[in-house]
Amino acid sequence: MNAEAIHQTLKKRFPDGVGELHTETIDPWIEVQPEHIADVCRFCKEDEALGFDFLSNLTGVDAHNDLLVVYHLYAYGKRHSAVLKVRVPKGKPVTKTVTTVWRTANWFERECYDLLGVRFEGHPDLRRLLLPDDWEGHPLRKEYMFPTEYGGIDNTRDYGF
């Protein structure tokens, strides 16, 4: 299936939850409303024509005032792929978890929470993954300020040039 067909299938099933198909990028992407993402993903996996059994990548992108959560799906059986995006405001970055659909999403979502601060409702264990628990801020946001000190260790260095 190509991107248009996938989009139409999803749009037919979720008229409210699924937005426009964006074809201006190399990989066309479909916008999904945050409250519908778990249902859309479940449908993507369980529908026979779609058959997206593999969540290849889940990550977040800082989009100025919003955060985008990006889902790269792939179907081993059908050999086609799709890109879903969820837009959440930076002030209240909350979306639904897809760990119930693919178990691999567990760590992806934890990483996304760690580095961008997106909260996934329903995630079984939403803690920081890479950074220590007492770390402040979410580094992949554009406004993030690098720390000069952590845990009592001064982390600046004068290289003399």
Binding site: G151, I153, D154, R157
Partner: protein, 161 residues
């Protein structure tokens, strides 16, 4: 060491105790098997069949309690820094530290990032810095020989009195 060729058979040597102790210490520098990052692979290769650091009496130990030498092989992140300090504290005296590679020398390439310690000397004292990203096994071997030289120059008994 020199033989008392006038009075004793040539199988006798004389030396002072400090030199004898240093000779033993320098020839059995057991290092902590502690690969942090890229340099850890070169550390393995240095212990491997070609570079064979065993020739200099240096064998890896898995526990800090049996090691004399810590080779900080790779990037020390802020999350890891306190653990490196803990490992160093567990080693018995006298102990030596080689900082291997740019990352542990000064942060190296990851000076641009937010989560990397800019030099392991911020948490533990370093005896010798080996430059390179990563240093070749030859460079690390040279570093080991320099540490051995340093040991030979020490007056261990005199210092304790």
């Amino acid at each position: 060491m020199m033989s008392l060729y006038n009075e004793l058979p040539s199988t006798f040597v004389t030396t002072n105790v400090d030199k004898l102790i240093n000779w033993g210490r320098a020839s059995s520098l057991w290092y902590l098997l502690f690969g942090l990052a890229c340099c850890g692979i070169e550390l393995m290769q240095t212990g491997g069949p070609r570079a064979d650091i065993d020739r200099f009496g240096s064998v890896p130990r898995a526990t800090p309690r049996q090691s004399d030498l810590m080779i900080v092989a790779g990037t020390v992140t802020l999350k890891m820094a306190s653990r490196v300090k803990l490992l160093y504290d567990q080693m018995p005296h006298p102990k030596y530290v080689i900082s291997m590679g740019s990352c542990s020398n000064c942060g190296g390439l990851f000076d641009l990032g937010y989560s990397v310690l800019r030099g392991v000397d911020k948490v533990i004292p370093v005896d010798l810095y080996v430059p390179g990203c990563p240093p070749r096994p030859e460079a690390l071997t040279e570093g080991l020989i320099q540490v051995q030289d340093k040991i030979h120059r020490e007056r261990y008994l005199a210092r304790n009195n």
